[in-house]
């Protein structure tokens, strides 16, 4: 603390030294400040404008390819005839399986930490671990999935192996979102329920979960919207880059939309870059729809909770 104020003092002294003795009405300083303010604002707007520009560029590039046929065709060696049907079906299957695995486990872990765990070393360890996991690069999850799901559990380079890998990747996010949702339920309602002779699980089932479900689902959909763009872990576990069939079971080999995009970007021919741009437009549209769905769900389910 003392070092802070010492530094502040010297800074303040330095400032006084650099200023003219008596000048109450000063225009120049305000001008400098305004210029600096504009520069700061520019630091925010510039990257955003660049992003808009890049999106615009991708959209213009994509327009010749965007059609119903693009969505319903299989990949092809001829760029103009190629489509993203297997990738779309693969991504949908992945998201579904991932959600089925990540929601119960993530919500369960959140409930454990919020409602059951006693504060202590073990709980602190689990919490530290979750925040660490959130910072592990996604490609490392791919290596984990490759070794554990593809090889040891012998699931092969299948849809289920990909979904399990993504589920582990999403787990920290789902846990954190669920914990936040659980915390919004006031303590007084839990106590009211206990006072009626309910045990912890009944209180959860009857009172807490119905109230926090909108928050949990919103969090899950937002994390899925992120997962649908995940590429690196799927490449690592061996998602195929050229698939001319639809996955028909959870053991099927598969491709996914970001993988298909990556495949097209990596081709040297510019025609395939057009396909990649079109795939990107579809991917971003899906992400926007999922984000919209999350917001819609939140407001809609909120209305069922009467405050």
């Amino acid at each position: 603390m003392t070092s802070v104020s010492a530094e502040a003092d010297t800074a303040a002294l330095a400032m006084r030294a650099s200023q003219p003795p008596v000048e109450l009405v000063s225009g120049s300083n305000g001008g400098v400040e305004r210029a600096f303010r504009a520069i700061c604002l520019l630091a925010i707007l510039l990257p955003l404008m660049l992003l808009v520009l890049l999106f615009g560029g991708a959209l213009i590039e994509a327009i010749p390819r965007l059609s119903w046929d693009f969505l319903t065709s299989y990949p092809s060696r001829r760029a103009a005839a190629a489509g993203i049907l297997p990738a779309l079906v693969g991504s949908a299957g992945l998201m579904l399986l991932t959600a089925v695995m990540a929601i119960p486990v993530g919500l369960g872990a959140a409930i454990y930490l919020e409602e059951y765990a006693k504060p202590g070393k073990v709980t602190a360890l689990i919490e530290l671990n979750i925040s660490n996991l959130a910072g592990v690069p996604s490609i490392i999850y791919g290596l984990l999935g490759l070794e554990v799901f593809v090889r040891v559990l012998n699931l092969g380079r299948s849809l289920i192996a990909g979904a399990a890998t993504l589920a582990l990747l999403l787990l920290p996010m789902v846990i954190m979102a669920s914990r936040e949702a659980l915390r919004t339920v006031p303590r007084s309602l839990r106590e009211a329920c206990f006072a009626l002779g309910a045990d912890r699980w009944q209180t959860l089932r009857q009172v807490v979960l119905p109230m926090c479900m909108p928050g949990v689902l919103t969090g899950v959909i937002l994390s899925l919207a992120r997962a649908i763009g995940e590429t690196a872990p799927l490449i690592t576990i061996g998602a195929l880059t050229y698939v001319a069939f639809l996955p028909d079971s959870i053991d099927s080999p598969f491709t996914a939309l970001p993988i298909q995009i990556f495949n097209w970007v990596s081709r040297p021919q510019p025609e395939f870059h057009i396909n990649a741009a079109a795939g990107i437009v579809v991917l971003l549209a899906l992400m926007l729809m999922m984000n919209g769905a999350a917001i819609w769900l939140r407001t809609r389910l909120r209305r069922r909770i009467y405050w």
């Binding site: 106590e191 309910a198 009172v207 009467y306």
Partner: protein, 247 residues
């Protein structure tokens, strides 16, 4: 119901320091005392709600019908079914309708009443809420006014047919008219239920209670018939408190 030498802690804070007190069946017992003296803590010890707070601890005995509710093989969840509780702020379950709120306790205890409509009607009538809500039982509990919500919470507790009803400052969040209705209700209910009501309002204690206990700094200072406590207190502190000299 009888509390024997109850000590309660919040972590290191010693909130109740040996409270012994017999509560008379089918009478209203008021607990008064300055804020922070342990009133809420005490009633929460009577249905094992104190231990729900993380880090909280209780010692001593509470006898309900001759059984110590802190005995070794007692299930606290069961105790709460017999000792109902109404809280300071009305807290109906926001995801449930009025009907579901009243039936919540039964449903939670896994009992399917043969005639739920009858249970709802009886409980709401006992809580003097039936006439106001009988046509809107499917609406949300939170759509009601504050006073109605509190009576809904009372009905919710009564639907379980408890032996004892604990009320922790049930009127402190309500306006005077709603308060008067609850006080009337407490009076009516005392013919069937043993009631313990915490209040910081001495007039209220004088109006509704047969017995009154004065708590101070985690200890019971004086306990007796309400008339005696208010007209001829034995203890100087009680006198100071009820004449408004402190607290």
């Amino acid at each position: 119901m009888r509390a024997e030498n109850i000590h309660a802690w919040f972590g290191p804070t010693h909130a109740l320091k040996g409270v012994t007190m017999s509560i008379v069946d089918r009478q209203v017992t008021a607990i008064i005392g300055p804020s922070g003296c342990g009133k809420s803590t005490f009633v929460r010890c009577l249905n094992r709600m104190h231990e729900v707070v993380p880090g909280a601890r209780v010692e001593g005995k509470v006898l309900l019908d001759g059984q110590n509710i802190y005995g070794t093989r007692i299930n606290p969840v069961r105790v709460r079914r017999h000792v109902g509780m109404v809280f300071q702020k009305p807290n109906p379950f926001p995801t449930m309708t009025i009907r579901e709120n009243v039936l919540a306790g039964l449903r939670l205890n896994g009992q399917s009443s043969s005639d739920p409509e009858h249970v709802v009607e009886t409980a709401l009538k006992q809580a003097a809420l039936w006439e106001e809500v009988k046509d809107t039982l499917g609406k949300s509990g939170s759509s009601l006014s504050g006073g109605q919500q509190q009576r809904l919470c009372i009905a919710r507790a009564l639907a379980l047919e408890p032996d004892v009803l604990l009320m922790d400052e049930p009127c402190s969040a309500l306006d005077p008219i709603a308060t008067a209705r609850i006080e009337e209700l407490v009076h009516e209910l005392s013919s069937k239920y043993t009631i313990v009501i915490v209040t910081h309002n001495m007039q209220q204690a004088a109006r509704v209670a047969d017995f009154t206990a004065f708590f101070y700094q985690g200890e019971i200072v004086e306990y007796g018939e309400t008339d005696v406590i208010f007209t001829r207190p034995q203890n100087q502190r009680t006198e100071d408190y009820i004449t408004g000299r402190f607290g």
